[in-house]
Symmetry: D2
Subunit: 324 residues, 4 copies
């Protein structure tokens, strides 16, 4: 009988991104994507989308260069947290507990083998709307904003890895992520993995860093769920000189209806305009896209991706190829 | 420290409905909703939507009266199945193992305290498309049909219970369902519960049977995900004399964009045109709608529900009130 | 050979509405529907939607009671204006020329037989966006607003008439409107007419005033074109305590996907979320809905209309029945 | 005072296309786009979309090569027809009257200066649905089909011209088309014109034939109106090996949400998923896109166009560049 799966990590709790242009980055997320700021401390601002239930899902921290701060995962219980910490400690990748950040209890910090900073936590602070932002829709934490085209919730993070296989294995074996989809070269080398702990096709994707970087951020993604909002935000972005890198289009992999945008600080942000498909099968066989399937896998229909899409990440380790 | 949650049931695998008009019921599901028939045996036909991965998600069985045949749940593993069977056996509600049905391995049969037939299973048969139905979209089990307005996957089942509390507790305590939302009268009595084992707000809802029936079916639900398809199917239903009972509209509870239809055999079928919201929080506090919140909870916007919505189920235990 | 049609009136240019609560009315149109204010003079503010090309399409004037100020029609040419003025003068319903209003040249004022104030004009002032509101989309007069869920353009006006037939005939015979659709009682009496000078099913509808009022406003309508925006604005309206009277739903008549809202000043505003159907046939036979067709004609699918929908207009001549 | 506009042509009545593969072409239009066949005679089949009111809007005729058969325009009246025939006769481009085709009365045949066959007609035959295809939606000529993703109506035709200016002038001066939008090179040469007789931005577009061909067809366009249907048909096309050339995307010019498909006979077909914008202004100033505006004019957002888009037409006068 096969061993039972690890079910200890429950969800992506938040992401921290770094930006050299904090004012412009915050304008982008708040005025165009409708995020709410819940706190500011030091060089960081804490934001959430209107259907995010916790204190924040995005921490924006001023830095010399854009890139990933860290990724935070919430476990299913205190016990689950303890089990995962033990597993990470055994790998030597653990850094220890931190109790300093806003909106959460103790978090155990570590890095992937490729150097992406992450943390695991159980205790979170829930957002409580002030009276003027309360809605009669009791399962929504606040009124829907009337600014921009507001995103609904944090969806996933996509990371570039100099050594994809090692970091992908780490996520699966130590944290219990399930491999959902994969792109594999004809020589057998895997170049992109989509992994999740929930029915979402991914809360984290990892792709081989073609430039040999380590620990870089490919993109973070917020979710609309409705295709029209991708059109709406495309108009707004065009009219406010924010660069649309690609989309709207629909990936074959994950069936995501996507838009990729470069926020003013340089980080790539994906917007999801689609419910996609969900994986409820507890015994899911990963979908492997080989080279001959890849054209439809990358783009099922709609906008193609520029070549630079597969190389540009943050921090930027070469001048981006201007593609449009 | 709180005990850890039960995580043994993974998903709604299929539902069996009974119909006195099997030809008309199959016409409805196949020609209008685009389901595919995978097998026929005895008085039953086996159907699946084009994004359903298993042999079937709907079994339609000829019977004198419409109603629920049974509901099948798939566990997360063989071990999980064994644990749940043991828990059910201890309640005296178990009926034993069956190995006779198509598309699955051994299933453990039982009933809720209210008498809804259910089964638990681990082994399932996956659907394999014949060549002419294969699609280059590798994460889709077959081509999207060109008949009707095809639904994508089975979503949930809604059951009426003469004694809601006992059956709801059974689902939570013995099977590990999480209570997500609830309607509660001012006198403290619960009249509807939405429960899930996944981020969906519900795979099963139970509502108090106002007519005192037992074990009745309120509706089954298939999922579109895209609001436009609710408009599209509404047109088709109107033009083919299939009764739209209510919708399109959006519930506050579950945030579902709904359409309720009475299939020709008499069973209510819901169609979901919306990604809704998803619950990733592992420590979710159930949303309780009290009487004063209920207007927006029942209908956030759009079509109202007729009074008969809260009484009509199958089998029908009184003549339905004609409401439109 | 039949006489040739009158083709002199080209379009609905603007509507003036009266409101006892100008601040709240302006908040509604500007903050929720995203209209832009282009001028303010005396007790009036001038507004336009972001795809309206002229100086204004809505004039909001403070008044003791809500209701219609006037309706302005633009002709196809100066010569067409002269011909129509001559035809109106011959009826005795003309009031003479006015050159006082903002954003337009000389306008010839008159009233329908039922007393709705109207004007005909040829010269209009075009809106020119300031630099920060210019868009690279050259066929759009300004950037799409980032406030609320912005409507795109004025669509039509719906008037209640104490004597429908006389005013409807006037619109057709003197102004050249084409009758597109009609509701007719079994006794042969017409109770609602939809008329247009363009492929739109109507720029003006007239319905029999069941309360015997004269010259009342049923509603004005702005256009989204995209169904999703009706859902979006429904959420915003619910969360900001603006009364949704009916919708979303789709009328059979005109095939409009509608939402009816009562703006804070008391006037009914319709929002159109649908391209509807367009009439290009130059020899269109009016569609006549008889009593037996009416259920599907009023509501093809979706939200029903409250009884009060057919009686409430502005000014209000009896206390509105509270319908939800 | 300026002269009054010519208002004699009312609409695009139908288009005839030629195909070397009539069975495959008919399969495409009937099974995937849901068109209905109303008649077959000789080497031709006559088709209409479910919201087309006349006998046909598409005539598919077997031929050695794909391309344009002819374009038919309906006038506003018999008198209008007589006036336009007189104007065409004076140019020497007239060919005389034909009374032989199905579904219409006498048609006056002519060619544009570039050699595109056209006809003008007044009398048309209206489609009458058989009982089983009648719908309670009285303004719809038949039930919505349950095959494929059915288009709603014919929208426009796009023609390539070896000498754009002469043919464009002919359409404007002899037939009364209004120039709505234009692409103009920096050297002052116009390379594409969009023209209409209705509020649509175009019923006919003409673009300079870069390969020097004459009288070629760039594409015909059918209309959905709803963006979701472009996604739906994209899936179906991908799964049935019909080539999507470009889209979904949104043009700046005309604001059309487009999909371009090559039907099996080789002709390009556009599908419109958007209400676009409508021009009601009777004194519209053409929007002129210069080279520096063109990037956003060609693609406002979404899928780029392959280079071949500007060269490939039917008949094909060189091997198409394979672009994806």
């Amino acid at each position: 009988m096969r061993p039972e799966p690890i079910l200890d990590v429950a969800q992506l709790a938040h992401v921290e991104i770094l930006t050299p242009k904090p004012d412009e980055t915050l304008w982008f997320f708040k005025e165009l994507l409708g995020l709410e700021e819940t706190a500011r401390e030091g060089q960081s601002a804490y934001l959430r989308a209107y259907e995010d239930f916790y204190h924040h899902t995005l921490k924006v921290t001023e830095s010399k260069e854009p890139g990933l701060g860290h990724v935070a995962w919430r476990t299913r219980s205190q016990q689950a947290l303890d089990r995962r910490v033990k597993a990470i400690e055994a790998t030597g990748l653990g850094k220890g507990w931190s109790e300093n950040d806003l909106g959460q209890g103790a978090a155990y910090q570590f890095a992937t083998p490729d150097g992406h900073n992450m943390e695991l936590l159980w205790e979170v602070e829930y957002y409580k709307a002030p009276d003027h932002m309360k809605t009669p829709l009791l399962n929504r934490p606040q009124k829907r904003p009337t600014r921009g085209v507001p995103v609904r919730r944090l969806d996933h993070v996509n990371l570039m890895a100099g050594d994809l296989e090692t970091s992908s294995d780490f996520m699966q074996e130590k944290l219990g992520f399930n491999l959902r989809e994969r792109i594999q070269q004809n020589d057998g080398k895997n170049i992109a993995d989509w992994m999740s702990v929930s029915p979402l096709v991914h809360e984290v994707a990892m792709m081989q860093d073609q430039l040999g970087g380590r620990g870089r951020l490919h993109h973070i993604c917020y979710w609309y769920g409705f295709p029209q909002h991708i059109s709406d935000i495309s108009e707004i972005l065009n009219e406010h000189d924010v660069k649309i890198e690609a989309g709207p289009g629909k990936h074959g992999v994950s069936q995501a209806y996507f838009l990729y945008v470069i926020e003013p600080g340089g980080n790539r942000v994906e917007l999801f305009g689609d419910p996609g498909y969900l994986i409820f099968d507890p015994d899911w066989e990963p979908v492997v896209w080989k080279e001959e399937d890849l054209e439809k896998g990358i783009i099922w229909y709609g906008s193609q991706l520029p070549d630079d899409f597969f190389q540009y990440g943050t921090p930027n380790i070469k001048a981006p190829v201007v593609t449009k």
